[in-house]
């Protein structure tokens, strides 16, 4: 049942294309700002911010707001919990693809 429990633990938070994309991007880059994520994932502002909020609410990412000159800049970094969830998710995905 170990595999089942592992998969079951992967809640819907990460199993969604945009959020999965955000997490992948952040895992790879360490941190990124809103516009970078928007460009990398090719999604709309509203869509992205909704999903970022979900990730933030679940403690998978940390939001950092600052001003560069007069422009606000929001950067996102994955938390330890977020990293762990992502790794579990990828492991489960791999094992399923391999089994299938």
């Amino acid at each position: 049942m170990a595999t089942v429990r592992k998969l079951d633990a992967l809640d819907d938070v990460i199993h969604q294309k945009v959020r999965l994309g955000v997490m992948s991007s952040l895992m790879a880059s360490g941190e990124a700002d809103f516009n970078f994520l928007k460009g990398a994932l090719g999604v709309s502002d509203g869509n992205l911010s909704t999903h970022l909020t979900v990730l933030e609410d679940h403690g998978y990412i940390i939001v950092h707001k600052e001003f560069v000159g007069k422009k606000p800049r929001t950067t996102y970094t994955p938390t330890l919990a977020g990293r762990r969830a992502f790794e579990l998710y990828v492991t489960a995905l791999e094992s399923l693809v391999r089994a299938g």
Partner: protein, 283 residues
């Protein structure tokens, strides 16, 4: 045969294939084998179906794979997509990661500038080390001074242009990834420093072979960095590795000497790399 996904459940409609098989397996009290057979059958039949424990959806689905599940599964569960789902999600991950690590902060312009600096270095040292016999104290330090300056200027150029490019794509150059790259590059550069110090002590022993040694050291750095970066960096590393070996093995008095190789590699290779990177990923 395929029921439209529940529109009120926007997050889930993207696909809850894995999760739902797992959840269904748990609720049905079945183990991994059940999940695997679900997954396998879906792959085989290429089915997209929403399945219920009751018989109501069974007629709708009409697929062999689907029937198998509805006979087996007691609880209500649904499978929104089919075989491609896991692969699709792996693709999402790969793409997002590639767009985020690779080519995002490497600047094409810096390759070109570094190449030009190296060519300038070659021109300046043209008369410095002509042969092993003519190495004098003054020339030795002039030689190392020129190349040291070329190296420091190149480093500064690279840092500045990388920062500029990083700012443009919305990242900082000194992110954890940037630290990885620096750490990867360090051993090779340290080895090059060791060769340079050795050259200061025994210039006659090393002579123009220092060029080949530098190329090999730099190749090691590039190949390490290449592991965290675009494949072009690795290509450049391999090119330097081969060129470095070649430079050490060229017999004296050939039509191409070590310094010419320096111009070809640190000059030419960098410029080609920079042009390619700029063209492919941006300046």
């Amino acid at each position: 045969m395929i029921s439209a996904p529940d529109k009120t459940d926007g997050a889930k409609e993207e696909g809850i294939f894995l999760i739902d098989i797992a959840a269904a397996a748990v609720r049905a009290g079945r183990g991994p084998n059940f999940m695997l057979s679900c997954h396998q059958a879906l792959c085989e039949t290429k089915t997209s179906a929403i399945l219920c424990s009751g018989e109501e959806k069974r007629a709708e689905s009409g697929e062999p794979g689907a029937r198998m599940y509805s006979n087996q599964a007691k609880p209500v569960f649904r499978i929104v997509t089919s075989a491609g789902e896991a692969e699709e999600h792996l693709r999402v991950i790969r793409q997002a990661m590639e767009r985020s690590t690779r080519h995002s902060t490497l600047s094409g312009l810096s390759g070109v500038v570094v190449g030009l600096l190296a060519l300038a270095g070659c021109l300046l040292t043209q008369n410095v080390v002509k042969s092993v016999a003519t190495v004098t104290e003054a020339w030795k330090f002039l030689f190392l001074g020129v190349w040291g300056a070329v190296f420091l200027l190149s480093l500064a150029t690279d840092i500045l242009l990388t920062k500029r490019r990083a700012a443009r794509v919305g990242k900082t150059a000194f992110s954890p990834l940037g630290k990885h790259l620096t750490r990867a590059a360090a051993p090779g550069l340290f080895a090059a420093l060791a060769f340079s110090l050795f050259y200061v002590r025994f210039p006659e022993l090393l002579g123009t072979y220092i060029y080949g040694a530098w190329m090999l050291c730099y190749a090691v750095s590039l190949l390490s960095v290449g592991m965290f970066s675009v494949r072009e960096v690795s290509w450049l590393g391999w090119a330097f590795l081969l060129a470095g070996a070649l430079t050490l093995l060229i017999p004296q008095g050939w039509w191409i000497g070590p310094r010419a190789m320096m111009a070809v590699t640190f000059g030419g290779f960098h410029i080609l790399y920079g042009l390619w990177m700029g063209y492919k990923y941006g300046w």
